[in-house]
């Protein structure tokens, strides 16, 4: 089962929820950090690096001696990643989405494809958790291909917790698109509610079942609770605005390790997430993957 943890904005505690969940999930759980622009799950885990692989996407390479500057390639490319000039076509690998279209339309067969590195996927082991993280190279704008590459490292036979990037844009969709259940982490504030609504729209669009974790309860008001009730979205866990959690982090400890009560809360979250998924799966078992 792939359990994704997402949030409509950054800073809600999404990564700490992911890491704490992975910690209570027992041996052989995989934690996939899909926040490839700023992976940070490793900061909580201190794993030992096992493997690092470079990830490349195909980008066009132009043979200037064959190119006539006809403009077919640049006319085709909707990302403006190739410009045609009389002296030959010019490529911008950082904008290229690797669709291969330009080489197909080139009448002179002047375009071939070559690999352009966008980042790395690193796998490390930390006390029974296999941490897989994508890390985008500086200046590269294309997170989705790297996120898909990182996901290809998942062992389908073992459970996985997937820490999605913040927000509701393409990288998030690439991350959560084949999750079985999404846990949306939010805060009980007006901003939290606003971003939660966007995130709920996104998961409904993708037809992925979802539950909510409300973090820092006690901080704001009860409108997030009311929204979840109205929309029939289960609140799977409420984490109080507790100084002890922050103190544990400042010592580099996870809440579930430092505070036994939280160990039980996160076990309960995992249990309720699985139950929710099972309940939904048995309702329409034909539509959902296992």
């Amino acid at each position: 089962m792939i359990l994704a943890v997402a949030s409509g904005k950054g800073g809600t505690g999404k990564t700490t929820v992911s890491v704490n969940l992975a910690r209570v999930a027992g041996r052989h759980v995989q934690l996939l950090d899909c926040d490839v622009e700023e992976p940070n799950a490793h900061l909580f885990l201190r794993g030992v690096l096992q493997r690092r692989e470079e990830i490349c996407v195909p980008v066009p390479q132009v043979d200037a001696s064959l190119c006539t500057g006809c403009g077919e390639c640049s006319g085709f490319c909707r990302y403006h990643a190739i410009a045609s000039l009389e002296s030959g076509a010019l490529t911008f690998p950082e904008l290229c989405h690797g669709c291969g279209g330009c080489s197909l339309v080139c009448p002179e067969k002047a375009i071939t494809e070559t690999g352009h590195r966008i980042g790395v996927v690193e796998t490390s082991e930390a006390d029974g958790i296999t941490l897989i993280q994508g890390r985008l190279d500086i200046g590269v704008a294309m997170a989705p291909p790297l996120i898909r590459a990182a996901k290809s490292f998942l062992d389908e036979g073992a459970p996985a917790i997937l820490d999605a990037p913040p927000g509701t844009s393409c990288p998030v969709i690439a991350a959560i698109s084949d999750a079985h259940l999404v846990i949306l982490v939010t805060e009980p504030t007006p901003f939290g509610l606003h971003d939660l609504k966007l995130a709920v729209d996104m998961v409904r669009e993708l037809k992925i079942p979802a539950g909510v974790v409300i973090n820092r309860v006690g901080l704001g008001d009860d409108r997030v609770h009311a929204f979840c009730r109205e929309q029939g979205i289960p609140v799977l866990l409420e984490i109080p605005d507790d100084r002890k959690i922050a103190e544990a982090y400042s010592r580099g400890e996870l809440a579930v390790d430092a505070l036994p009560a939280y160990h039980a809360h996160f076990e309960n979250l995992l249990f309720r997430s699985r139950e929710l998924y099972r309940a939904i799966r048995s309702e329409h078992h034909a539509d959902l993957r296992i």
């Binding site: 640049s74 403006h80 410009a83 000039l85 009389e86 002296s87």
Partner: protein, 120 residues
């Protein structure tokens, strides 16, 4: 000799648009005939990325070797440079003012992009 100006209008009195990639038009002035034509760049107004590249390709397509604008980002700069187009930056208010500056030799060519990508 042809000189291109980025502008939001289609006359010499029109404002010079200082954003190269997202200017709505390019005014192509021919110093020999003292006449001009206007090339549409509006396809780029909504491009999220790469507007400068497309705009630079449009300018190269006019055959001009001189461009007068406000700011030029690094990607557009690369295209213009490869096409052998000299770039002059100005803060003149109108195309006519910029043309006067250009003809009197007041404008210097820039040797590098002067803004980050997202300015173009």
């Amino acid at each position: 000799m042809k000189v291109v100006f980025s502008t939001s209008g289609n006359t010499l009195d029109a404002p010079l648009d200082r954003r190269f990639g997202r200017a709505s038009n390019f005014l192509v002035y021919d110093t020999e005939t003292e006449s001009f034509t206007v090339v549409d760049n509006r396809q780029n107004l909504n491009a999220s990325q790469g507007a400068g590249i497309q705009a630079a390709q449009t300018v190269a397509g006019t055959g001009a070797k001189h461009l007068v604008t406000g700011h030029c980002g690094p990607k557009a700069f690369r295209v213009l440079n490869t096409a052998g187009i000299a770039i002059y930056t100005t803060d003149a208010a109108t195309v006519a003012d910029a043309l006067r500056q250009f003809l009197s030799g007041e404008l210097k060519t820039t040797g590098a992009a002067d803004v980050d990508s997202h300015w173009v």
